[in-house]
C-alpha cells in the first residue's frame, strides 16, 4: 500500500511539473472559464427583446397607431422602419434588416369604431426560429392585453394571478449561469485530461514509463490527482464568480453543492482520460473529448433545450449525460434551496458516473497494453 501511494505520488509530481512548466496553458485553463462566464452572463441573453420590426400602417387611424405603440412600448419590439406597402415587407425580411413586419390593414380602425372585430397581421422571419417563436408569443400577449382594455403596462408580465417562484423577475442570467457552469466544467475538465496520456503516446515517453515498476492504476491515479486539483480551483472560481457577479443566491446546502461538483468534476476528468487513452494523438483526443463531453452537455442536458420536448429515444440518451444531473443539482441548490434530501437521486447518479467512467479509463488503459 505504501509503495502504491509513493508511486502514485511520483507520477502526480511529474504531472505537476509538466503543468507548471507550461504556465501559459494554466493561465488559459483558468482564464477561459472566467471569460466564458462573463460572455454568457452579460452578453448572451435569452430574453428575446428589441426585435427589429417594420411597420406597414395602411390604416393611419388613432386605433392603428395605438396598436403599433403597444407593440413597441414594452421594448419587445423596436420600430426599425415604416414601409409604404405590404409588397416591401418581403424584401425587408429577406435582407435581414428586420425580423418581423406588422401589417395593419386599411379598415382596421373603422371596424373597431363600429364594434366589429378587427385583425392585423404580423410576419415573422422563421429562419431565426427562436426569435420567431418568442416574438409571436409576445405579440399575441400584447394584443390580447390591448384587446382586454388593459393598459399597455402589463404587456408581457404576468397578471396578478400569476406567480413565478424561485426567480420572480424571470432573469435569464439565473438559468444561464447555472448552465454555463456545467458547460465550462464539462469542457475544461475533459480537455485538461484529454491531452495527458495521448501526449505520452505521441512523444514515446509512455514506453519509458512502462519500463518503470509503476502500474497502470498508479499512472491513471497519478495523472488524475493534479488535474483534480486544477479542476477544483476552476470549480470554485466559476461558482463564486458566477454567484457574485450575477447575484445568484445560494439558497441550499453548500455541502451538497460541494459533493456534487466534485463528483461531476471526476466524471468529466474520467471522460477526458478515456478520450486520451482511446485516441493515439492529441489532436484526435481533443476532437473526441469535445464530441463526448462537451456536445452532449451543451445539447442534451436541458440547459438550452428542454428535455421534455425531445423525442423519446433522445430522452433516453439524455439519461446518460452526467451534465444533466449536475444541472438539476445546481438549479436545485442555488435557486430552490434544496439539499441532499431532494437531490439524493442526482447525487447517486453523479457518483455512479464518476466511479464508472474512471473504472472504464483504467480498464481500457490495461487492455491497450496487453
Amino acid at each position: 500500500m505504501n509503495r502504491f501511494l509513493r508511486r502514485t505520488w511520483a507520477v502526480a509530481h511529474k504531472e505537476v511539473l509538466h503543468i507548471l512548466r507550461d504556465a501559459r496553458a494554466v493561465y488559459l485553463a483558468l482564464g477561459l472559464p472566467v471569460v466564458m462566464l462573463m460572455l454568457f452572463g452579460y452578453g448572451i441573453s435569452q430574453d428575446i427583446d428589441h426585435v427589429p420590426m417594420a411597420v406597414v400602417d395602411q390604416d393611419r387611424t388613432p386605433a392603428s397607431r395605438r396598436l403599433c405603440q403597444a407593440l413597441v412600448a414594452g421594448s419587445d419590439f423596436v420600430r426599425e422602419v415604416d414601409l409604404a406597402s405590404p409588397d416591401d415587407a418581403e424584401a425587408a425580411l429577406r435582407s435581414g434588416r428586420v425580423k418581423a413586419v406588422l401589417i395593419v390593414p386599411l379598415d382596421y380602425g373603422r371596424a373597431l369604431a363600429r364594434g366589429l372585430p378587427a385583425q392585423a397581421q404580423i410576419l415573422v422571419d422563421g429562419s431565426d426560429g427562436t426569435t420567431a417563436t418568442i416574438a409571436m408569443g409576445d405579440a399575441a400577449g400584447i394584443v390580447t392585453a390591448l384587446s382586454a382594455a388593459r393598459a399597455v403596462r402589463s404587456s408581457l408580465n404576468a397578471g396578478p394571478r400569476i406567480r413565478v417562484r424561485f426567480n420572480p423577475a424571470m432573469r435569464s442570467a439565473y438559468n444561464m449561469v447555472s448552465g454555463v457552469i456545467v458547460l465550462i466544467l464539462a469542457m475544461v475538465a475533459s480537455l485538461l485530461t484529454a491531452l495527458t496520456i495521448s501526449r505520452e503516446w505521441e512523444r514515446g515517453t509512455m514506453e519509458q514509463l512502462f519500463a518503470t515498476p509503476v502500474s497502470r492504476l498508479e499512472i491513471v491515479m497519478g495523472k488524475l490527482i493534479p488535474y483534480t486539483g486544477l479542476g477544483f480551483v476552476q470549480t470554485l472560481l466559476v461558482l463564486t464568480l458566477g454567484s457574485y457577479l450575477f447575484d445568484i443566491p445560494i439558497r441550499g446546502s453548500l455541502g451538497t453543492l460541494f459533493v456534487c461538483s466534485m463528483l461531476f468534476l471526476l466524471a468529466m476528468l474520467g471522460t477526458g482520460l478515456i478520450a486520451s487513452i482511446v485516441a493515439k494523438s492529441q489532436l484526435v483526443a481533443v476532437q473526441f473529448a469535445l464530441m463526448v463531453a462537451y456536445m452532449p452537455v451543451a445539447m442534451l442536458s436541458g440547459f438550452m433545450f428542454p428535455i421534455e420536448n425531445m423525442p423519446l429515444w433522445l430522452q433516453g440518451i439524455a439519461h446518460a449525460v452526467p451534465g444533466r444531473y449536475y444541472l438539476t443539482t445546481l438549479r436545485g441548490v442555488l435557486l430552490k434551496g434544496n439539499g441532499f434530501a431532494r437531490l439524493g437521486e442526482e447525487t447517486m447518479a453523479l457518483a455512479i458516473f464518476a466511479v464508472g467512467l474512471l473504472a472504464v479509463a483504467v480498464w481500457r488503459f490495461r487492455r491497450r497494453l496487453a
Partner: protein
C-alpha cells in the same frame, strides 16, 4: 521556372498533408462522424417551441365550472396535465422537487364568484429556474386567464375585438433543423479548420518536422498554402455533405444558388484557417494551441447569433459581432438557403467576410514568417 517549382512544392506539401490526415483513421472518422452526429442531434433534439410544460393541478372547488376551466387550460398544448393534488402546498412541493414546472390552483368558491362576475381567484404558479420556459408559460397563462375574465380590470369582459394573425415566413412549421443548420455548419467548419490547423502546425513544431521542411527550398507561404488547401477541400466536402443530408433527411430547403454558398464558405474558411495559423504562431505546444483555439471558438460561436439573437444582446456588445466571420457566414447561409437571397441581397455580408478572411489570413502569414526568421 520558379512558378513551376513553387507549384510543384505546393503540390508536394498538399500530398503530405492529405496522407497524414487520411492515415489516422480515427481523425478521418472524426471529420466525417461529428458533422453527421451533430446535425442529427440538432435536427431531432432541438425543439425550441416551449410546450408540454408539466403542470400539476389543485382544484379545491371541484365544480363543473372549475373542471371546464381546467379542461380549457390544457386545451392547447402549452401545458401538459400532470398529477392532481388536494392541497396547494403539496402542489408547490412538486415544483420544489422539480416534478412539475407549473401549478394551476383553483381555490374553493371559484364557481360562485365566476357566476357573480366577481374576479375569481385562480392562481398559476410557475417555476422560474428556467427563465425562457417561465416567460412562455407566464405569457400563455396570463393570456388564458385574461380571456377567461380572470385578473383583468373588474367588470371588463374582454371582447375578442383585436386579433393578430401571425404568419411565419421561410420556415412555416418552425422546424429546428432548418434554422439550426447554418449555425451547425459554421461551427463545424470552424472546428475542422481552426482547431485542426492550430494543433497540426503546433505538432510540426513540437516534433521538429517544421524545421526540416524549412531547410528545404519550400518557401513559408507556399508551405502554408499547401497545408491550408486540403482543409479547404475537406471543408467544402463537409458543406456538401451537410447540405445534402439536411435536404434529404430534414427537408431543409435550398432556395438560393450554390455559387453564393460556395463563395461564402470559401471566404469563411479563409478566416478560420487564418485564425488557426495565428493561434499556432503564438503558442508553443499543442496544449496551448488547443486551449487557444477553444478560447477563440466559444466567443465566436456565442457572438455569431447562432444560439441567441444579436438584437437582444446589450448595445455595447453588438458592434463586436461584426468582427466575427461566423456571424456573416450564418447570415449568408440563412439568406441563401431559406430566403432565396442572391448575391445582391448579401453583398454587405460577403464584403465583410472577404475583408475579414483576407485580413486575418494575411496577418497570420506575416506573423508566421516573422516568427520563423
Amino acid at each position: 521556372m520558379s512558378v513551376v517549382l513553387a507549384l510543384q512544392s505546393l503540390f508536394n506539401v498538399m500530398k503530405k498533408e492529405m496522407r497524414q490526415t487520411v492515415r489516422d483513421r480515427r481523425m478521418l472518422g472524426m471529420l466525417i462522424v461529428s458533422p453527421v452526429l451533430m446535425l442529427v442531434i440538432f435536427g431531432y433534439a432541438i425543439d425550441l417551441d416551449v410546450d408540454r410544460i408539466p403542470t400539476v393541478i389543485c382544484d379545491q372547488d371541484g365544480t363543473p365550472a372549475s373542471r371546464d376551466l381546467t379542461q380549457a387550460f390544457f386545451a392547447d398544448r402549452t401545458f401538459r396535465r400532470g398529477k392532481v393534488f388536494l392541497d396547494p402546498s403539496s402542489a408547490q412541493d412538486a415544483l420544489e422537487a422539480g416534478d412539475a414546472a407549473a401549478a394551476l390552483i383553483i381555490p374553493r368558491g371559484f364557481a360562485r364568484r365566476a357566476a357573480r362576475a366577481d374576479d375569481p381567484e385562480v392562481q398559476v404558479v410557475i417555476d422560474g429556474t428556467d427563465a425562457t420556459r417561465a416567460q412562455v408559460a407566464s405569457a400563455a397563462a396570463s393570456q388564458f386567464l385574461l380571456l377567461h375574465g380572470i385578473g383583468g380590470e373588474p367588470g371588463v369582459r374582454p371582447a375578442a375585438a383585436i386579433s393578430l394573425a401571425p404568419r411565419v415566413m421561410y420556415n412555416q412549421r418552425l422546424k429546428s433543423a432548418i434554422y439550426m443548420l447554418p449555425g451547425v455548419l459554421a461551427t463545424l467548419l470552424m472546428n475542422v479548420t481552426a482547431i485542426v490547423m492550430a494543433m497540426g502546425l503546433s505538432r510540426e513544431r513540437e516534433t521538429g518536422t517544421l524545421e526540416q521542411i524549412l531547410v528545404t527550398p519550400i518557401r513559408p507561404a507556399v508551405f502554408l498554402a499547401g497545408k491550408c488547401l486540403p482543409y479547404i477541400l475537406f471543408g467544402l466536402v463537409d458543406v456538401l455533405a451537410v447540405l445534402l443530408l439536411g435536404n434529404l433527411v430534414f427537408d431543409v430547403p435550398f432556395r438560393g444558388s450554390f455559387g453564393v454558398i460556395a463563395l461564402g464558405a470559401f471566404l469563411y474558411l479563409f478566416s478560420t484557417l487564418g485564425i488557426g495559423i495565428l493561434i499556432a504562431t503564438v503558442s508553443s505546444s499543442q496544449q496551448q494551441a488547443m486551449l487557444g483555439a477553444v478560447a477563440f471558438m466559444l466567443p465566436a460561436m456565442l457572438l455569431s447569433g447562432f444560439m441567441s439573437p444579436i438584437s437582444s444582446m446589450p448595445a455595447w456588445l453588438r458592434p463586436f459581432t461584426m468582427l466575427m466571420p461566423m456571424r456573416h457566414f450564418i447570415e449568408i447561409m440563412r439568406g441563401c438557403l431559406l430566403k432565396g437571397a442572391g448575391i445582391a441581397d448579401l453583398a454587405p455580408q460577403m464584403i465583410a467576410l472577404a475583408v475579414l478572411g483576407i485580413g486575418i489570413l494575411g496577418i497570420s502569414i506575416v506573423l508566421f514568417r516573422r516568427r520563423l526568421s
